[in-house]
Symmetry: D2
Subunit: 503 residues, 4 copies
Amino acid sequence: MRVPSEASGRLSDAWRFCVGTGRFELALRRDYQDSLALIQREIGFRHIRGHGLLSDGAGVHQPYEYAGARHVRHSFTYVDQVIDAYLELGIRPFVELGFMPSGLASGDQTVFWWQGNVTPPSSWREWAELVRATVAHLVDRYGLDEVRTWPIEVWNEPNLKDFWQDADQDAYHRLYEVSAHAVKEVDASLQVGGPAISPGSDEFLARFADFVAGRSLPIDFVSRHAYTSGPAQHVPFGVHQTLAPASKLLEQFATPRRQLAGGPLEGLPVHITEFNSSYRPDNPVHDTAFHAAYLAPVLAAGGELVDSFSYWTFSDMFEEQGIPTSIFHGGFGLLTHRQIKKPTYHLYAFMARMGEQILARGEDHLVTRDGDGRVTVLAWAPADVTGAPAVDGHTVRLSIPIGEAASAFELRSSVSEEKGNAWAAWRELGRPSSPRPRELDVLREAAEPARSHRGLPVEDGRVDLDLRLDRHEVTLVELTPVVDRTPPWWDDRRLLGLGEESR
Amino acid sequence: MRVPSEASGRLSDAWRFCVGTGRFELALRRDYQDSLALIQREIGFRHIRGHGLLSDGAGVHQPYEYAGARHVRHSFTYVDQVIDAYLELGIRPFVELGFMPSGLASGDQTVFWWQGNVTPPSSWREWAELVRATVAHLVDRYGLDEVRTWPIEVWNEPNLKDFWQDADQDAYHRLYEVSAHAVKEVDASLQVGGPAISPGSDEFLARFADFVAGRSLPIDFVSRHAYTSGPAQHVPFGVHQTLAPASKLLEQFATPRRQLAGGPLEGLPVHITEFNSSYRPDNPVHDTAFHAAYLAPVLAAGGELVDSFSYWTFSDMFEEQGIPTSIFHGGFGLLTHRQIKKPTYHLYAFMARMGEQILARGEDHLVTRDGDGRVTVLAWAPADVTGAPAVDGHTVRLSIPIGEAASAFELRSSVSEEKGNAWAAWRELGRPSSPRPRELDVLREAAEPARSHRGLPVEDGRVDLDLRLDRHEVTLVELTPVVDRTPPWWDDRRLLGLGEESR
Amino acid sequence: MRVPSEASGRLSDAWRFCVGTGRFELALRRDYQDSLALIQREIGFRHIRGHGLLSDGAGVHQPYEYAGARHVRHSFTYVDQVIDAYLELGIRPFVELGFMPSGLASGDQTVFWWQGNVTPPSSWREWAELVRATVAHLVDRYGLDEVRTWPIEVWNEPNLKDFWQDADQDAYHRLYEVSAHAVKEVDASLQVGGPAISPGSDEFLARFADFVAGRSLPIDFVSRHAYTSGPAQHVPFGVHQTLAPASKLLEQFATPRRQLAGGPLEGLPVHITEFNSSYRPDNPVHDTAFHAAYLAPVLAAGGELVDSFSYWTFSDMFEEQGIPTSIFHGGFGLLTHRQIKKPTYHLYAFMARMGEQILARGEDHLVTRDGDGRVTVLAWAPADVTGAPAVDGHTVRLSIPIGEAASAFELRSSVSEEKGNAWAAWRELGRPSSPRPRELDVLREAAEPARSHRGLPVEDGRVDLDLRLDRHEVTLVELTPVVDRTPPWWDDRRLLGLGEESR
Amino acid sequence: MRVPSEASGRLSDAWRFCVGTGRFELALRRDYQDSLALIQREIGFRHIRGHGLLSDGAGVHQPYEYAGARHVRHSFTYVDQVIDAYLELGIRPFVELGFMPSGLASGDQTVFWWQGNVTPPSSWREWAELVRATVAHLVDRYGLDEVRTWPIEVWNEPNLKDFWQDADQDAYHRLYEVSAHAVKEVDASLQVGGPAISPGSDEFLARFADFVAGRSLPIDFVSRHAYTSGPAQHVPFGVHQTLAPASKLLEQFATPRRQLAGGPLEGLPVHITEFNSSYRPDNPVHDTAFHAAYLAPVLAAGGELVDSFSYWTFSDMFEEQGIPTSIFHGGFGLLTHRQIKKPTYHLYAFMARMGEQILARGEDHLVTRDGDGRVTVLAWAPADVTGAPAVDGHTVRLSIPIGEAASAFELRSSVSEEKGNAWAAWRELGRPSSPRPRELDVLREAAEPARSHRGLPVEDGRVDLDLRLDRHEVTLVELTPVVDRTPPWWDDRRLLGLGEESR
């Protein structure tokens, strides 16, 4: 029996500071907004980050000819619709400057099914004007106090050839310099940062730090990404990939702070602006209970290492590999199209019910208390990446300090291979690609966590918990001290009106 | 293993034809309408019946003096608001004519905390005008085709002194005669009936039938009530009562048809316009899992005996014994204030998911199929009224014909002493009388049925079910034939990207 | 041409600090809440005050016998539902302690159709416990920081025999003393006050001040009411009354501050906890355009005299004289049942669009500017109470400072005898008492203000307004400085594609 | 004074049978659905038709390699989301088969900013399978009874090179033949038709009729388009065009029926599957009051000539020329982004309030009566296309039969250059491209029709109307016979309580 007394401190908000999204204009969709509304109600992220703000689909950069000369109109028709919707939903942009509008591109290399152009600008002046006009418009419409809270990140994964022509770091440095200056020209208090690199490219960050420091460029935060999957083994409309253990994610989180230590950028906020197991939007591992158990220790501990780590992405409304052909297709989303909750959704929803104060933490649990005295336990079964059979019956035993009450009310919510697992139900239904309304209802019901409750005795101010976990279970236990208000005349045994003798 | 093959026929709608409600003007309340909206979405009753349409609180009968004479204005300010709301919610009135407006009463005897006057009219002419004006107004506003579908019942329980001064049957006969004529003067196709008597008064019905037949009065249906509780053992804000077995309810249902057989009213529709276990709105048995198990056989079989049986009532928003002092207080409602679902709510919601065709029925189960081939099983544990401990582990074994599929998808939903039981959670919480928002959330979560699902093999076109029931469990099993659409390239064992050798 | 340059200062929030409501439990109704939601969206009151919190209909005081003794349960089933709803709608209680629960009353005198008991308590101890338990419950549920902002007023119009048995001032003083102490026992920072007297009883306030000061009782504010109508001339379901000029309302507002000056209660906040023209809920003057014009100068100036003045009441859902027999019936409401806006509603909605800074004020206008540079003019035609024909064509001419813009956009909204006047439309419709859905739509459309807009030239930083007002018109003019963003290539004259020659 | 007595017959539903929309996947957007919901509430179209069901953005045609061979998966992820939403909103598809999925195209010619491929299929077999699979899926999901009511049209404007490679009529004939057979293979009762040609290509239809008849192909309806604009005079982000008089639209409507008369396709339903003034989505004429007055006679009379004529399009959410850079930009929509109503919106909303029975029609008016006796007059001022100044003060005088009532209630709603004209307000606001929330509110208010009402005397069962119309005004007059229910004791002159002498 572990007595969780050592750990302490406040639970950081890093896990909910940001969440990822598909490209900018997908935010105009109703399904997207319905999903985000649900997520904000039950989880409550602070910021949202995705690609494509400056790509053609958002319509910001619109060149035209007039009186014999080229001009550019900066247009915010969709930008305003999207950001208005975000703010209404209680979430703020984490701005990513990219990709290149085709009218400003120096080449025609694109990335993704939706063809984001990834070449440098044909005119650095026009790029600077585009950034400045965009940021100035945001400040004008939403106010400086608001926009000052939105981090602005320059480009995405410039260390990869797919995302930045030739992965040309010098060109990225120039892009950063021009962009950072353009942002700060609007207002010096705005936050700008980069380089948003993918895993496995630590030297890129080192060179970037030197460049920024060497030229005394403005920089307010440093960003990178984290993934643990191996190479894609393709099948039609899907992939399989091996995964490294989840601890590798935490190691990736830890890298930038360690790398910057002692240098000129030491102490800057570090944002993991994307993380997930697999970087593929068609890997069914994202849909599984395994995935929630795999990420549970990451959510529980990540906030110790970075200022934020942003799950990539909140919704399967996402089109980088084309339009999904089935309701479950291995998308990144916490939610599928039509708002079916995946186990990882619940991991986040469980985190959202944790208290502010950490009472204990361990390799399979995290215990917190909130201001009202409610104690919350998040516990998880092991998620093995080597193909060993999932453990059925992992136990977590804890002695929880609950205070003066005579009893405690326990509410337990669980997802696992069997429970709160719509993907399992979908397989049992024969994997319908476009479920009918009744099937959707079944999937939504199957997606709800299993819940149970009971009264527990308190002894010496403590409650003993002995949790048995199913295969890949993630469980949330909420303990509330109870005041008994049963009146003196009441006796449940008399419910059926039977006399003393029959009791 | 029982093979349910004998039973057949269609499942009657009698169980959902009507539901009871607190007095008329309570329908103006938001909590009432929120509850009714939820119930209509998940259960879908056809009609709703309650007291007080003509009592002072609805404001229909408004006498005044003008030019030295007495006049009456018939006013429908609230009547229209309530019935507009009902129709919007997809439910129609089952009209009850009563009680007496104080401006028309011949005495001052009242019933209930809200003081419904139960004396005969001081002017039979003015009563006739009141009935005629009210029905005419309904026809004018809602159309004859609509109002023709609303049964109109004369008064409530005139066989009891509490509800009709001196329980004077002759006076009731006059009331019926005057009222029935007034209704038919508006339109001969409108449905009128009575006598809405309480249990234990069969001779009242016999005399009523003779009276109606003897004077050739219009009558379109016959009505009575059914309850099974013994005398009230009072405690503050509550009662205990013994209960007769549920089969006694079915016996009461059966009485009118049998009694009228061979007489002039033979073959008239019979409506049980109120039924429940206890007739007290402060008996906690209404809040229990026992109650759902107790009523399950009644809902499953009642339609064989009568044209409707109306659960008294849908909501705890009800004030016959004053204003409830606690969220759980033994009210009649399927829902408490603030929409916490009681186990009996789920019994009704389960019934609403049954199919049209009966495949089998037994003392602990009912099996149906709908037009899409979905087979639905309702099963229940025994509910003993003698104080014997509840059975834990009652089993129901069935062999279900499912058709050609290779497998079936089973979705099971259950309520019992432990599951889907907000009352149990409320006790564990220490019985808070006015729960805080967070406690309400907990109670609503605890009130949801436990759900599980799995794939079942089909052999020879049948599925074998072996259901184990918890204490006082009522369970719904939905079986859907499955078409497997898994593509040939897909193998769940490769989820973690591991090769042939590791599988 | 008046140049509004002298006036200055900020527009006080006194006009929206509070609004009146029918008795407590009416707040449970959906129509009530729908109306309040609309009002909060378009007007936005801060507090709401009405009678009946402690009357039987709210169910707080519930005596019972147990173990041979009398006890009282304090129950908050409805209190919580109502206040939860208020806070959700963004409005806070202005608590009125009253009337007497029948189980605690010393006599049976009641007021109103709904029979509020107005006798002193039979036990001062039990009254103190009732107040303390109620306030303590509110603090427990909503938090001290919240409840501290709710003024708590002791009783209503104790200077009138209808509202307080024998209008016994000594008994009121005892009630105040006991109540004020009970409130402060919960927390000393809570605000308590009185005496909530009706007009024409200034000596009551003087004696009350002496009493409070003489015994050093806690007191945080002083309250009274203001009305201007003469005696009721009854007709069936209505009254006619003469009215004093609106300036008499302002005189009544001014009285307490003047009366308390120099005494021990000098400087206390003064709340006019009820005001209106007529104090009758069946005087059709409340439904008219006259009424809006009559009250316009009161709303524009009242904030100079008191800390709040609370319109009695926001909705016709109100039952002091019984249940209204017609959609328009002279109720106090800004809205009728079913949310038809009266002209006085728009007067309030216009006030809600005024800016914070006062630029000018006069006997027929008020001019403000908000932080964005928008200038707002409220102007009104005279409302003569002597029966002289209403003036058609009253003019208000103003020169408004607008700043640097080349032009200004004017949006004008008006209600008058002809415009934005559902009552006029209702008369033309033949005064249907219970309008059908289509008629309700017509009335709601007719209730919308007439709106017009145009561009106005700016000269020397000013706009000249020359407003002509219809009979009993109240008009809101909103002026916004315009930046012209028409591109150089655009010419509206070419809309139909015709060449230079045709322009 | 014209006495409208000659005209008769029922008002056809042709004007609301169908409405146009931007490309298929735009229907996933929230703004689109919000607009459609508003339109369905206030107008109520039956069907909706647009391009792109089979283009890449809808994701239906998804080729893949497996086991060394090419396969195609037909995927309905977005199709189901869109059509589910349509049916929820009470509107049904008018299916257009097109354009070509890039994976099936024989060339790379595209049309529009969003690059719809307009080349014939590379495999006619695969095209047939695509059509058959799509239609079969719709029947499977929505039921044959439902889909049978959805007309299915083959391609769009194949007579134009921009829409069909080389405008190759033989290739279109083959496309039609293959497609029509594929549809009928699913079910013979489904409706298929074509050729959806643009104006000015009558010979195409003649040849098509010969082809279809010659080969005895299935055909259930014939379709074409109608527009009246001249060539585009380009300016940045916009065009000017001359317009032919509106009567030319009616002439185009009349053509197919006349052309087919006497031939094998005589009597087939004729659908004008697109019509408007200008065919450009960037011509500001669409935003004007002129436009409503111009189209009024077309809506009033078109139903005499065809089975439907479908306004192109309901919303400015439309991207054929790229992403609009300003809230008003000359889009086709009845509504702008964010639901600002254009005058033409109101023309449709007025039509939706007309009765079923035609009482009169003329060059500037249409008079109808509905089942409740309400008489409705639509009248319009002239819309001159030659550049002459708009007439201010056009009059329409009518004598309307209203029946027995003593008076009539007139509700008049108008849009014109000054009233109900958000575009005018937008110009006065300085043409903000991306209006702030407050400006959007102003524009929405300015977009509401001006409304007035009055009581009118009835003489000899008739009401005399003398309507004066502003510049480009379209007005709706609704006349309701009135029953006066004023009680005998009521006199409005006593409102202020003044005695006999002052009346």
